[in-house]
Amino acid sequence: TQNPKRTYIIHMDKFNMPASFDDHLQWYDSSLKSVSETAEMLYTYKHVAHGFSTRLTTQEADLLTKQPGILSVIPEVRYELH
């Protein structure tokens, strides 16, 4: 396909959440929806990161990186057994 999706972990600046949101999950969802109507969160992370994982196209990921409150958009990596 022309716009293949891959998985990313999105790190959010939780302590600088806009006051218009009551809940950080709403904020995560709103940020995601601002770049993709269809993308869904795979996981939300509480301890290892403030953020979530989702599937995005490269363009969507680039766009998300520029949104306020986004610290980082890190592509998923495959690990293997040792």
């Binding site: 996981y43 990161a49 495959r78 690990y79």
Partner: protein
């Protein structure tokens, strides 16, 4: 495992009454899941699950909440990332549940904390009572690895849950590529775990014996390399010329006919004369049928080679090491009579095949041999330093048993893991830094039980500073890949000695803020540090942060190499390291000593005596290394030891000129 508890002297820990609160310790294993029916998860004699435990036994295919008990206290699975990448899990091929369809996760979790099981063996090999390193500790399995691999989204979710569930130790025998800590999801996740008081033990990787092949090098992770134990599974190959060579094998089937069989080299009987690896469909059946085939190690899985030979009509196989593997012999439960040979013997056998008109061989098997010396030796496959991400942090941290380890296995697959292997076993013998990592995880659980107040860094320090680097005869631990003495780039601080680690005397403790100062020293921006810390942390502009000041139990000093080759600059360079020792023993006085193989580096320690009057008292010291320039690529090693006459608190020092 059988034998490694004895090899590590663990029986002494119970004699010394160190079991403490071990049953309060929970080891989380992030891996391929768990086979709960194994006797290693028998909870007889264990008290109620610790009240702090918040984990669950998740339900899924072939798995329900009754599969957990007071030993296996939790089991979860994480597949959303995997399914997003690969599509829905094929439930005919693997269980969408915590159930282990692979065997690896059952092996690692039982190695760390399996209950004692009498009469364990693999086809009679390595027989004995199998025990985890911390038999009373609890296990929680987090399945993140599937047929197609393990994805960082799932791994991060598992670490997230493990923190929430309340594990004390995390065992992760997995690895990916190296990247900056702030971009590395597993480094970020394990930092959070460390902040929650969880010790994270990870495998160093199987990229050895090549240099600079380490995985999992974040300084808050305990990075574990692999060594052998004093056990072997001998096999004997006798050539038609009467010469006999010793190899290893876990084959237990019918032996080949007594009379010698024709012997051929894979490269001479294959479709491609450059392919000596016995890869799938590479052999010509008419040239292999009824013969013993020599296959070179590497390329494809070792046991798979035996299947390739068998399918081509071969009767037996010799697995031949080349220089990458040296004399390291890894035993496998082959699908036909087969044995692995070291590099020297392999070369001799191949020479014989190329020169004899009608080469023949016989293979015989010798069961289990104990008391093999020297042991341990560093496994050829064990990944080696230097640490290319942060050269001033020495990795691996230490080594532990990782070769030919017997531990629990999945009932879903045979011991080779091959689809064609229909044998079912409760225990399997396998090798890798995956196997050494859970040894350290279990030993960390042992220490946590004995010293519940110790931080992850204190536990790691105790394991490292008490590890050993020499055999009883005083000779340095060898590297099986070369046959010569190994170095701290191979074994880190040395081979783990859990009995000594229970009473280390002093520890190098480290807090989460110390690691953040370390990131300041790496010139991380506040934005990058926020990714790791998940909070604001500002590097103080007035402070000169230095990696050299991270309170690590080992030292790695890097110097500029001489410029202009032989006649180049010989300007001396001085680097200073600061360390803080915490007394975890009785009041006493420690004196420092330094042993060095490098006359070109002057080492001074200030002060040379540290007196501790109370428990948890801290004292600092500085060590200064002054070196003349050396050619680029030069390395040298030393050790620094604090001793009060009873304890020896030893740190390795690696010098590199680049």
């Amino acid at each position: 495992t059988t034998r490694t508890p004895e090899f590590l002297g663990l029986e002494k820990t119970s004699l010394l009454g160190y079991s403490g609160q071990q049953s309060e310790v929970i080891v989380g294993v992030i891996d391929t899941g768990v086979w709960p029916e194994l006797k290693s998860f028998d909870d007889t004699g264990l008290g109620p699950v610790p009240s702090s435990w918040k984990g669950e036994c998740e339900t899924g295919k072939n798995f329900n909440s009754s599969n957990c008990n007071r030993k296996l206290v939790g089991a979860r699975f994480f597949a959303k990332g995997y399914e997003a990448a690969f599509g829905p899990i094929d439930e005919k091929a693997e269980s969408k549940s915590p159930r282990d369809d692979d065997g690896h996760g059952s092996h690692t979790s039982t190695t760390a904390a399996g209950s004692a099981v009498a009469g364990a063996s693999l086809f009679g090999f390595a027989s004995g009572t199998a025990k985890g390193m911390a038999t009373q500790a609890r296990v929680a399995a987090y399945k993140v690895c599937w047929l197609g691999g393990c994805f960082t989204t799932d791994i991060a979710a598992a670490i997230d849950k493990a923190i929430e569930d309340g594990v004390n130790i995390l065992s992760m025998s997995i690895g990916g590529g190296l990247m900056d800590y702030y971009k590395d999801t597993v480094a970020l996740g394990t930092f959070a775990a460390m902040e929650h008081g969880i010790l994270v033990s990870s495998s160093a990787g199987n990229g050895g014996p090549s240099r600079a092949t380490l995985a999992n090098v974040a300084p808050w992770i305990t990075t574990v390399g692999a060594g052998t134990i004093d056990r072997d599974f001998p096999a004997y190959i006798t050539l038609g010329n009467g010469k006999r060579y010793n190899g290893v094998s876990l084959y237990n089937g019918k032996l080949p006919p007594d009379s010698p069989l024709p012997l051929v080299y894979a490269a001479n009987v294959g479709q491609d004369s450059t392919d000596s690896l016995c890869t799938e469909d590479s052999l010509i059946p008419s040239k292999v049928s009824g013969k013993i085939v020599i296959c070179d190690r590497g390329g494809n899985p070792r046991a798979e080679k035996s299947l390739v030979v068998k399918r081509a009509g071969g009767i037996g196989m010799i697995l031949a090491n080349k220089e990458d593997y040296g004399e390291e012999l890894v035993a496998d439960s082959y699908l036909l009579p087969a044995a692995a040979l070291g590099e020297k013997a392999s070369n001799e056998v191949k020479k014989y095949v190329s020169s004899a008109p009608n080469p023949t061989a016989k293979i015989a098997f010798g069961g289990t041999q104990l008391g093999v010396q020297p042991s341990p030796v560093v496994a050829a496959f064990s990944s080696r330093g230097p640490n290319i991400l942060t050269p001033k942090i020495l990795k691996p941290d230490l080594i532990a048993p990782g070769v030919n380890i017997l531990a629990g296995w999945s009932g879903k697959v045979g011991p080779t893991g091959l689809a064609a292997d229909t044998r079912h076993v409760s225990f399997n013998i396998i090798s890798g830094t995956s196997m050494s990592c859970p040894h350290v995880s279990g030993l960390a659980a042992l220490l946590k039980g004995a010293h519940p107040e110790w931080s992850p860094a204190a536990i790691r320090s105790a394991l490292m500073t008490t590890s050993y680097r020499a055999y009883k005869n005083g000779q340095t631990i060898k590297d099986v890949a070369t046959g010569i003495p190994a170095t701290p780039f191979d074994y880190g601080a040395g081979h783990v000695d859990p009995v000594a680690a229970l009473d280390p005397g002093l520890v190098y403790d480290t807090t989460a803020d110390d690691y953040l100062s370390f990131l300041c020293a790496l010139n991380y921006t506040s934005f990058q540090i926020k990714l790791v810390a998940r909070r604001e942390f500002t590097c103080d502009k007035r402070i000169k942060y230095r990696v050299e000041d991270l309170n690590y139990p080992s030292f790695a000093a890097t110097f500029d190499a001489a410029s202009g080759g032989k006649g180049g600059s010989h300007k001396s360079t001085t680097v200073q390291y600061k360390r803080i020792l915490t007394n975890v023993g009785t009041p006493t006085t420690y004196k420092v000593s330094v042993s060095s193989q490098s006359p070109s580096v002057k080492i001074t320690v200030e002060p040379q005596i540290l007196s501790f009057k109370g428990l948890n008292e801290k004292k600092s010291y500085t060590v200064t290394f002054t070196s003349n320039s050396m050619p680029s690529g030069t390395t040298s090693f030393a050790h620094l030891e604090w001793s009060d006459g009873k304890h020896k608190v030893t740190s390795p020092i690696a010098f590199s000129w680049t």
